[in-house]
């Protein structure tokens, strides 16, 4: 993968809003954002109600994913362009999800909703409906998804990348600072994980930094290209952003996103936890 096949610019998007076979999809927890104005023709996916099982803490399965995309009018051959708020966190999460279920032509809109709004590009409240399709999903690709036991086994052997803010990494905060801090789990990070906040990879308008800048950031942080990598955050959406950077933009192989992330790891009994600025020992 590379920037050319994974990312589209706002200019490209604006020119292709009506192109047949291109489907724009907004993914944002704040669904009211879509309702107050979305890209013309864009449909909405709700990461919580559409993409997650409503009983277990897990994804919708392959059949549920296929039913969802069929109902929303996305075909296997469509080029899906994902965008959203929060610097594309949830759009990147959805991108990873589409990749997990084998959708080939998926792109992220560089800068997401923020750049689109700051550029004063067109938004509309017109209702969008697309004719239903017969979408067929592939078996989930677990080479890009890590589970908790793989994370524990990766301590000291694989690259572990903690992409939360420095204060969450050290254990001073338990959640991003726009959320209340009351939490059940322990604070800190997985021992040996390096700290590379997701935000290092983005400019302040939400676009991604250049490949050269990105390579320098991860090299300086001590990411070993010869090893496999697991990225995590709090609930797996910011680490989808970093997974996207490492695997889809920079072309690293064997990068996994640990979607259980700190809300799972920090609640586990008996696993090692490191506090402070240093990665810590095995």
């Amino acid at each position: 993968m590379s920037r050319d096949t994974a990312l589209v610019s706002a200019d490209w998007a604006e020119k292709n809003l009506e192109t047949p076979g291109v489907v724009f999809v907004e993914v944002d927890e704040d669904t009211s954002a879509y309702d107050t104005g979305h890209l013309p023709g864009a449909i909405k996916l709700d990461w919580k109600t559409d993409l997650q099982d409503q009983v277990r803490r897990d994804f919708v399965n392959k059949d549920q994913f296929a039913a969802l995309l069929s109902e929303r009018g996305i075909a296997n051959d469509d080029t899906v362009v994902l965008y959203g708020g929060n610097n594309n966190w949830f759009a990147a999460y959805a991108y990873w999800y589409f990749a997990l279920y084998g959708h080939r032509k998926v792109r992220l809109l560089d800068g997401g909703r923020k750049k689109w709004e700051l550029d004063a590009r067109p938004l509309t409240t017109e209702a969008v409906s697309r004719p239903a399709t017969q979408y067929v999903a592939q078996e989930p690709d677990h080479t890009i998804r890590a589970f908790r036991d793989e994370v524990v086994a990766a301590i000291g052997t694989k690259n572990l990348v903690d992409v939360r803010s420095p204060d969450e990494y050290t254990g001073r905060l338990l959640a991003p600072a726009h959320l209340p801090q009351e939490q059940a789990q322990r604070a800190g990070h997985v021992p040996t994980a390096i700290s590379v906040p997701w935000s290092k990879a983005a400019n302040e308008d939400g676009t991604f930094k250049s490949d050269q800048e990105l390579r320098e950031i991860y090299a300086a942080a001590g990411l070993d290209d010869s090893r496999e990598t697991i990225a995590y955050c709090r609930i797996g959406e910011r680490s989808s952003h970093t997974w996207f950077v490492l695997q889809e933009l920079l072309g690293h192989r064997n990068v996994q996103n640990y979607d259980g992330s700190w809300t799972e790891y920090g609640s586990l009994v008996g696993v090692p936890v490191a506090l402070g600025d240093e990665p810590g020992k095995e």
Binding site: D28, N86, S165, L173, L174, P176, A177, E182
Partner: protein, 108 residues
């Protein structure tokens, strides 16, 4: 609203009242308004909370009255606002409880 496993990282409504369950003895709330050069509140501005090393910590979008709110920790923080009316910064030292700030923006 309390943060839970199922709650996302997307920002809650910035104009909503502080939750009754919030413990202001423990929380450090940074709240305020983004204003343009004429002093009018700026809605839809992106406000970024940057830590003492200038690292990104969080970002929210202002309410129709230009309001924003963060749950941080005691210390020095920089608030940076991006908007169609321009950008602006302000630095504050936060303590436990509610800390109020105004972020002025103007065309750069």
């Amino acid at each position: 609203m309390t943060a839970s496993t199922t709650a996302g990282c997307a920002a809650p409504d910035q104009a909503a009242p502080l939750p009754a369950s919030l413990d202001l003895e423990k929380e450090t709330v940074i709240t305020g308004v983004v204003r343009d050069a004429a002093g009018e509140p700026v809605t839809g501005a992106y406000v970024r909370l940057l830590d003492s090393t200038d690292e990104f910590t969080a970002e929210v979008v202002t309410s129709p009255a230009g309001q924003f709110r963060f749950f941080a920790a005691p210390g020095t923080w920089r608030l940076r606002a991006l908007s169609r009316h321009g950008n602006g910064d302000t630095v504050l030292t936060a303590r436990r409880g509610i800390n109020e700030a105004i972020v002025p923006v103007a065309v750069d």
